[in-house]
Point group: C2
Chain length 223, copies 2
């Protein structure tokens, strides 16, 4: 007899994700789940996003990692509240971890929570955390062929950040082919080329995010 | 009631891995499992390894990916037999997939099988495939902090390849800190800085691999 354990695990995850979504909505907090490979620049992108939006929104960060708290420390050094989740081995965040992390944050004093998922192009894709938007980062050094190999994450992302764009001359990255393959998987998601550490292109990404946040706020206040 | 499903899954995996190990040993084939993040350069490293060792050993490749066959095609274009496994969503290879892939290869005509695992620093770590050695690749653009966040894979690797070493001037990668943290996790694994696409440093890595292959052959013929 074979048991498909993935269904009950996902059902429980989705039910807690729905609770999270209500909590966030009631508090007027927009939540974005950032997914990427290890080393694609999730933390640098978060720091650049904080710099661009901190005058306008009250921001907190939930950091997900197998081990260590180096990322949460980087965010805190930026003067932003951060909670570190250590999954202890799990390759993705789940909604119960987000629920516990959110309980440690001053929800009523926030407008935006950025969740940094575990570095992984596969496992985080399937797990609803109760976020408003899933966004993925690919970095130029990873190569333009990644959408062929990891189609699900490219299909599900609402926006795609192409980070380390300043290193394009150093790598054999065919941006035309990348955009074409991504376009077939996902006709809606905008692609934002950025250099998170240098700041290039960050404005287009944070303008998109700010529009999404304001749209959610307007919708909440009209209901 | 909670059921720990990971134990029976791992037990079944390990029992098939032991079968694989006997099959490989009987045929005198050395098997190396290459693990890395998406885009760290697994396929480029395999192509460079083939170029360095093809005069000396008969080589085949088993390619693991969620989807697509682009990597197997690259290897076949190099004139080397390759089998593509598509996991269909699973974030790592398991021993039953290797068993089926190996059955499609001319085992008695081979000395070395290189397995390219799914791009992931987490999930492949736990699964014995019946290989002789697990080797990991980190690429310079991923950053020197990865051993803090993904300690298990650095602990388990028998050798660590530091790829895209030629891009060191472009990235903020502290090699001293990297070597120090890896040394604490794993006192034994040699670290091989290479540039797979340019060939720099590849000889040290393939000399190590050749020594391991010859050692296994000597041990098999004396028993």
């Amino acid at each position: 007899m074979e048991i498909d354990v993935s269904k009950p695990i996902l059902a429980r995850n989705d039910s807690l994700a729905a609770e999270n979504r209500r909590t966030f909505s009631d508090a007027g907090v927009f939540v974005v789940d950032l997914m990427a490979s290890p080393g694609a620049g999730k933390t640098s992108t978060i720091l650049a996003t904080i710099d661009a939006l901190r005058e306008r929104y009250r921001i907190a960060v939930i950091e997900g990692d197998i081990a260590s708290k180096v990322d949460a420390e980087k965010v805190k050094a930026h003067g932003i509240p951060a909670v570190q989740i250590n999954t202890g081995g799990a390759c993705h965040l789940e909604s119960d971890m987000i629920q516990r992390a959110a309980a440690a944050l001053p929800m009523e004093e926030l407008d935006l929570i950025i969740v940094e998922n575990v570095g992984n192009l596969v496992c985080p894709t399937e797990f609803d955390l109760g976020e408003n938007a899933k966004v993925m980062i690919l970095s130029v050094p990873e190569g333009h062929d990644k959408p062929y190999k990891y189609p699900a994450i490219f299909s599900k992302a609402e926006a795609i950040i192409l980070n380390k764009y300043d290193t394009l001359p150093v790598f054999d990255f065919d941006e035309g082919e990348f955009r074409e393959v991504v376009g077939k998987l996902n006709g809606k998601a905008p692609i934002f080329p950025i250099s998170a550490t240098k700041g290039d292109g960050v404005k287009a990404w944070t303008d998109w995010l700010a529009a999404r946040i304001d749209e959610a706020k307007a919708k909440a206040s009209s209901s």
